[in-house]
Subunit: 450 residues, 2 copies
């Protein structure tokens, strides 16, 4: 009856009182699908289900729940029960959950973990959010350089079950400094007697723990890596970022930029799942700010009351002109925001882009000015047609320059350039548009009247 | 002198007449960095450099150039020289280049390839763009189920150099049907005498070649996969999509959505690299469409000329009201477009979202209506304040419903929902706003005057 072939059996199985049958059946289903299915249930039902699943399946399923759900479940249950579950999660995912709950509860949970797990957790939690350290896993496979390939494979067999990935194996010296990398593929292809030092690549692309996580994403994407080693201080290896961490980062950053550009606060949970009050709170602040900005457009119009009263036909072209400036401006802003986000453009490119933008916007404005001058002529005669056409050119140029410059200014002020949202650019372009339009109209029509 | 520590040496090395020294030095640099450095040169210089690099380095560097550059270089040189270079590229990248050049030249290049490479290329080129088949690689590692682990590793050693990845090994039956998957990690951990059939996972997540490539991206992201097998017909294994293909897809799709939402055509080359005429051509069509749409707002205003002449103060609030509807609408459109793109929301969720949106937009509109009614009262008295406040509530609701519905309608019409750009929503909301505002004003102020 359901759309997904997996939903129904899983939810049916939960009704089955036989725990062993449940576990056996779910062993073959991907934990993501199980998590998807139970996400529909009440929290109490999810928890009862996780209890019945037992080790180690419950941690796999729990890891694939939404972060919001994870935090709620941990918040609602005793540390005696949640601490062992959290200990079985990947350390980077565990830190995310712990950072989403109360400080006091977090301390009580940490106190129940083994000393080594607590240390790992606390060290990871020490990295700032948004850095490579904040998304890395400490579970890398590392070997000294003087082993033979046969010895290395033997050691990997012992390490593998506890490591996130063994497909890139890092080579370190006595002081844990990163000196090379070997792919598991290279190990398989090498002769068992070869030394690691002979087959490793000494040119390793790495990232410092305090660098931006977007930079980690960029490196993994551009260099086609599976893992990126994270180093600190004197090139000491402290963790690794995997390509699947980066996929999540890329998706999340793209969503954040996207939402900011339309002046929606960032909403990471899905649209149907988000509560109405969350959606209200994320949307209202910018809408109110923009209302207040638009008051300036109104003030501009009030200033030119006599001009408008003298030629009401001017009002016909008002939405057209101010929207065109805003549209051209939000195009520029979008191009620049995306370009800054992907790292193609940097702060010092501003002047070069600005020069090009004047020319492009001039060409756009001329084309649009020609289009509206014909409309203006038919509707309101040659004078207003001329005023409207000239205004169009200027408004498009001014709007584009605002749209292009705002993201750079925000970046300079250490703010997120995506906050230079299309509506903000539109509002600024509106104010300029009103002033330009009625100034030209007053001057030109006044000149004719004289 | 340069910002990047790598640029200068590479460009210096090109000046070095010793080819062996050049190759030795570049062997330790990632081909992406070499490509980045030479991308600044003229096409003729790039080609001369690739010639000096020789096999196999030249194909690695060539693979990391922009697609635009690759196509230009192939177009400018003889098939005798370009065919061997293309043959050394990954088949999926090769197909992209061949699809970007003239049909006639493509045939001449294909004619110079080995029969097997030509067949692979033609088969891959047969999959539609945007499908999983269109991004997959045919170079997967596959084994029969009855081998022992030791035999499997032996076979992999032979296959590995020619395969894109051997970290997931697919298990197939006599008819090439996909029946399981084994991680290289599992092979390393297993006993050499174990059979593949005993250690493989039989529940394989796969995708059909004709499914959307975004669906491949979603599966890889959600199931944390390194590779996703691509099947056809009777579950026959035809290729694999790797996580790094998907990273590129995710980045590209996010950029495309982002650009579409601001009514910029899709621009994949970087902003500074894009020619001025490309930027003009990508931006002008929508700007002109929007100009034409705005004419309807003007027509609406013209219809209410008498109302405006009777109360010029109404014009003061015009930008405020129509922008607010547009802003609320573009927020909704953005949330829905992103949600459709990530697969969280599907077509049949429309009605549920619409009901919620009416309530959210009502709350937003009331808040904004209260804010402007005070402004309206101070500036223009109680009557206009009331008209403006009521209009605000209605305009925000109508704008939001337009913004929310348009992406669904476009999806239903099999068009890209991201085309429901913020400016388009704004223009539609403008027209509705003008009609609502002046209708209410005419009725209320007329009522008062009577």
């Amino acid at each position: 009856m359901s759309d997904s072939p997996i939903d129904t059996p899983i939810l049916d199985l939960i009704a089955n009182p036989d725990d062993d049958a449940l576990r056996a059946a779910l062993n073959d289903v991907h934990p993501f699908d199980v998590a998807q299915a139970v996400e529909e249930l009440e929290n109490a039902e999810i928890w009862a289900f996780l209890r019945r699943l037992g080790d180690p399946l419950n941690a796999d399923v729990f890891s694939h729940l939404d972060l919001d759900h994870q935090a709620e479940l941990v918040q609602e249950h005793a540390p005696e029960e949640t601490a062992p579950l959290l200990e079985r999660m990947a350390p980077d995912d565990r830190v995310d959950v712990l950072q989403a709950i109360d400080d006091e509860l977090r301390e009580r949970i940490l106190a129940r973990m083994t000393v080594s797990q607590r240390r790992v957790t606390e060290r990871l939690a020490g990295y700032e959010e948004g850095t490579a350290g904040g998304v890395m896993s400490p579970e890398f496979a590392a070997l000294p350089a003087d082993l033979t390939v046969a010895e290395a494979i033997g050691l990997l067999r012992l390490q593998a079950p506890r490591k996130e990935t063994i497909y890139d194996i890092f080579v370190i010296d006595d002081a844990s400094r990163l000196i090379g990398v070997v792919g598991l593929k290279d190990l398989i292809l090498a002769s068992p007697k070869d030394r690691i030092s002979e087959i490793m690549r000494a040119e390793v692309i790495s990232i410092r723990a305090d660098e931006d996580r977007n930079e980690a994403a960029r490196k993994i994407r551009e260099y086609d890596l599976l893992t990126l080693p994270v180093v600190q201080g004197d090139n000491r290896l402290v963790g690794l970022v995997t390509v699947d961490d980066v996929l999540d980062v890329t998706e999340e950053e793209a969503t954040t930029d996207f939402h900011r550009m339309a002046s929606v606060g960032n909403i990471q949970t899905d649209l149907l799942g988000a509560s109405m009050s969350l959606l209200y709170r994320k949307r209202i602040p910018w809408l109110l700010v923009l209302v207040l900005m638009n008051v300036f457009s109104g003030a501009g119009i009030a200033y030119f009351e006599d001009t408008i009263a003298a030629a009401v036909a001017l009002v016909f072209f008002l939405p057209l002109l101010i929207d065109s400036g805003g549209n051209a401006g939000s195009q520029s802003a979008t191009l620049v925001v995306r370009s800054l986000a992907t790292g193609e453009t940097v702060l010092r490119d501003w002047l070069r882009l600005l020069r090009r933008e004047v020319l492009i916007a001039g060409a756009l404005g001329l084309t649009m000015g020609l289009a509206v001058s014909m409309l203006g002529f038919l509707r309101a005669g040659p004078d207003i047609a001329l005023v409207v056409a000239v205004t169009m050119v200027l408004v498009v140029i001014v709007g584009s320059l605002i749209g292009m410059s705002l993201p750079f200014i925000l970046t300079r002020l250490k703010m997120d350039p995506a906050t230079a949202s299309a509506p903000l650019v539109t509002s600024l372009a509106d104010i300029c548009g009103v002033l330009i339009y009625f100034s030209i109209a007053t001057w030109w029509l006044g000149l004719q009247a004289a």
